[in-house]
Subunit: 225 residues, 2 copies
DNA sequence: TGAATAGTGTCTTTCAGACAATATGCC
DNA sequence: GGCATATTGTCTGAAAGACACTATTCA
């Protein structure tokens, strides 16, 4: 009885998937990309997109591949969230999933349904459907992480275009934290970290005073203080 | 060609291990339990103890089993750290490891060498040997997490017996952060969170003024502020 | 000129950090 | 009494939070 070369034990081994929560801001709401399952189990239920890890790719590569297939996006903010491995989390057998979350700027984004998905859609996190597997728990954990991280880092930048108004940045905070923020204190604090710089551009699109456009000095996420 | 029932894809799948960093405080130093590898690869090198995840156990259960086998300990503080899945991290093949870290009170602890380990020992994090695989990276990540978490939570409690002097608690902070802490500011701050309470016991062991013994009001880890 | 958003400063309160003297028990 | 650690409070500076008016452009 021949074992595959990659088999390291005589025991059955769990399978490993990578699930990716893709977040963006649309219509002044935080949205997450979900797919409608086309096959059992949980056929017809909405779920977090994911797939099996290939033998030759890293976990992060698998997550990026998933985002590429699902939303056609490259080069987005991506961070490992947590690994979920309860033996009963998937009725098909032992499947461990390494969850990642990604943040993409709030612009026009098309979602493609993958092979075994009937449909893909953005859902506001305020109007979530019932999710398959333990995906509600995974999503809750991602939201906790995001809300925590925005307080002490520049992750919000990943949800904005390169240039933005300070009021845009403030709105991202308000949407993610779910509460109003004082404009003066917010600006004072953000500018005090010296991570933002003005650009030579001004936004004159609205019927009101134009706004200075800013950008983050560094593309990589920075920490406050 | 028959597939095992648990095989969900036609592809080879990575193996999954759980590695556990067990920390304690001994001789006024932060120590980590390592095992000396008895087999190739990296035979003779020190490594973080770990093992394959069994089909019927959760990741956390696997980690607890590992701690039980390695150090004979139950019921310790345990938290998932990160999942490492670089395809080249193990020369034997594709092995993904879910890393956990555990904290045990600084008392008498015996380490048992497991099956494929020649030896097990505590190492001060200031005198670490060269480690096998990517274990140096994993250890560095655990230290980062621990140093960060002690600043805003009661994790330090997991490194102390149930009752302790405030100076013991302060020492834990100094050892983990690697710097001195001001006694008055430390006590003021700790007590201000209202997470500690005095016990009816007093430590009169030394040739000096006896100290009040405290305990944390809750056994579970709490967050400051 | 009215509507809409941009942009700005002060005061108060809270928290972190620097800093030193007295208290108590053992030997 | 000497040694060793326990215990305690004040001052200062920095940051957070409350709070309201003027500026600018467009329709």
């Amino acid at each position: 009885m021949a074992k595959a070369k990659t088999q390291l034990t005589d025991y059955d081994q769990p399978s490993v998937t990578v699930d990716v929560l893709v977040f963006t801001i649309l219509e002044d709401q935080l949205k997450v990309a979900l797919i409608k399952r086309g096959v059992a189990p949980y056929q017809g239920r909405w779920a977090i997109p994911g797939g099996f890890v290939q033998m030759e790719e890293s976990l992060e590569d698998a997550a990026r591949r998933e985002i590429q297939e699902e939303a056609g996006l490259n080069n987005v903010f991506l961070e490992q969230l947590y690994t979920f491995g309860d033996p009963k989390r998937d009725p098909r057998g032992r499947i461990i999933t390494v969850a990642y979350y990604a943040l993409v700027p709030g612009e026009k984004l098309t979602l493609a349904a993958s092979t075994d998905a009937a449909e893909a859609r953005w859902f506001s996190i305020n109007e979530l459907p019932k999710l398959a597997f333990d995906h509600a728990k995974i999503l809750a954990e991602a939201l906790r992480r995001l809300r925590s991280k925005i307080e002490y880092s520049t992750v919000a930048s990943a949800l904005l275009p390169e240039q933005f108004r300070l009021s845009d940045l403030q709105k991202v905070y308000e949407i993610i934290l779910g509460e109003d923020v004082d404009k003066r204190n917010f600006r004072k604090r953000m500018l005090s970290f010296d991570l933002l710089e003005t650009t030579s551009h001004i936004d004159s699109s609205g019927p009101h005073r134009p706004a200075q456009l800013y950008r983050f000095k560094q593309k990589e996420i920075q920490f406050f203080k």
